[in-house]
Amino acid sequence: MANTADTVNYLDLIKNGIIKENTIFKLALSLCPSIAVTNNLKNGVLMGVAVLFVQTMVNITISVLRKFIHPKVRLPIFMLVISGWVTIADMSMAAFVPDIYKQMGLYIQLIVAFASILARAEMFASKNKIAPSMVDGIGMGLGFLFALTVISFFRELIGKGSVWGYAIINAKPLLIMILPAGGFFAVGILMALFNWIDIRYLKKSATASH
């Protein structure tokens, strides 16, 4: 995916992040937060936004600095940049949304260790100009946000009968869906569904021979 040419299709980059290389549904990376923080929609969306922010800013920073980073020490430098931006996200959330931060503070700090962020810095941002890197970061972040939103929406709806904290269904919910075990069920089923839709409808040519 090294789009080093000057004419980069930005739309393709976004699409790549959301569908083709969706962090959770396709690459199966960063599954820990996708299970730990998605038991309600609010947490899921905020986590997604935090990752979107960090991913985009890291990609921009690495892209700006790419000519000054010696290849031999690139990984420590990437980690420094990532942890810098994660600290900014972490402190901002602690300041602006303290209630939610109390529940998921640990997981915000864990963004430092996300494979997907380091991978994009290494594979894309360190080889591309600023604008494509930014768009790539936005695409990957949006893909993550999308996955977390879908997972947490279904888990909250089925596990608590509510959406964004507002009660919707007036019935006995399936308690397991908001427990960690239910997270595995939700991620597994949605991953299968996502790939099924992708194979069935988005890649029609590939299934023509079926």
């Binding site: 006995k172 399936l174 308690l175 397991i176 869906m177 427990l179 075990a181 069920f185 089923i189 299968a192």
Partner: protein, 336 residues
């Protein structure tokens, strides 16, 4: 050339050349039949509501298998009886008075998620009926622990609720249990006949043993898993069952109560999810018994058969690997 072929009628086929009469569906239906006594006793003690719940489980299991296979263009294998057996086992593992949607949710989880999504019969890692029940127990902790008092009157509709013998044992100790049932021999008798609170099909020890005897007679199960399961559990109950003293517990109460017999004879012996090497089966059974008693005596739940079997299910492939027999004539691997 054509003539030669016809004259000699040579039949060439790949092995196996000797085939047994047994088929998957025959075994499945036989196991289902062996559960008939337990089902009848459940119906006798817990009334029409229990029968309805078991029936709902069976119907929902078969329907969800049919719909899944139809929806994914797979061969429809409803006739092999495995969905029926899964439904029946799940039904027998439910408390008698659960509302109608619980059997349905449990069956869908058991058949679709545990079995079909893993590739269908033969590929599932876990026992489907037990996963269905575990899912329900965690999702509906209140509803799944309401135990109706056995009435032995088929028409009586509003049964009182009570605690299971294991629940009493856990909460109040063995003295309270003896007080409720009179003396030791009466307690054993009630546990044997099934006149006690519990899941629909687990209460009557006699009915379960009858079904198990049928399975032994037909050779569908061997002694390895049940004996090591019950033996380990009994040993642990005897050794650690009493508070304050070693080797003073009552193994018979533990073996006859809860889902121990149903689990040991009908659930742990599931062909797909237990090890296939006999020596491994002994280890598997012992693990089940050990974990069951660990949960019963030290865990948060009064009953541990379900979780014990599910945990050991995970180890089945590993156990099979460890006990794999050596290929005859094969050379020892040379270490580099």
């Amino acid at each position: 050339m054509e003539k030669l072929k016809k004259d000699h009628q040579l039949t060439l086929s790949v092995s196996p050349h000797v085939r047994s009469e047994e088929t998957t569906s025959r075994i499945m239906w036989s196991v289902s039949a062996s559960l008939l006594p337990a089902t009848v006793m459940g119906a006798y003690f817990f009334g029409p509501k229990a029968v309805l719940n078991v029936a709902l489980c069976i119907i929902a299991s078969i329907l969800s298998e049919f719909l899944y296979q139809k929806g994914t263009d797979r061969k429809i294998t409803v006739n092999d009886g495995s969905a029926f057996l899964t439904g029946l086992l799940l039904g027998l593992n439910l408390p008698p008075t659960v509302p109608f949607y619980i059997p349905i949710v449990g069956s869908v989880v058991a058949v679709v998620i545990t079995k079909q999504l893993f590739g269908g019969l033969g590929y599932n890692v876990f026992n489907p009926a037990l996963i269905g029940r575990a899912f329900l127990l965690i999702s509906f902790p209140k509803l799944m622990t309401i135990w109706a008092e056995p009435t032995a009157a088929f028409i009586k509709l509003d049964a009182k609720t009570t605690a299971t013998p294991l629940g009493i044992l856990k909460e109040e100790g063995v003295a309270k249990l003896l007080e409720m049932f009179g003396d030791n021999s009466n307690l054993y008798l009630q546990l044997l006949s099934g006149h006690r609170a519990g899941s629909i099909g687990e209460t009557s020890a006699i009915a379960l043993l009858l079904g198990a005897a049928f399975l032994f007679y037909r050779g569908y199960i061997t002694w390895h898993i049940p004996v090591s399961f019950l033996g380990t559990a009994g040993l642990m109950a005897w050794a650690f069952g009493a508070k304050g003293a070693f080797f003073a517990g009552d193994p018979i109460v533990h073996l006859l109560s809860g889902g121990m017999l149903l689990g040991a004879f009908f659930m742990a012996t599931d062909y797909v999810t237990c090890p296939s090497v006999k020596a491994g089966q002994i280890l598997f059974g012992a693990g089940c018994g050990f974990l069951t008693m660990l949960i019963r005596l030290k865990g948060g739940y009064p009953e541990g058969v379900m979780f014990a079997i599910l945990i050991m299910n995970c180890f089945s492939p590993l156990i099979d690997r460890g006990f794999k027999t050596k290929v005859f004539g094969a050379k020892k691997e040379v270490k580099k």
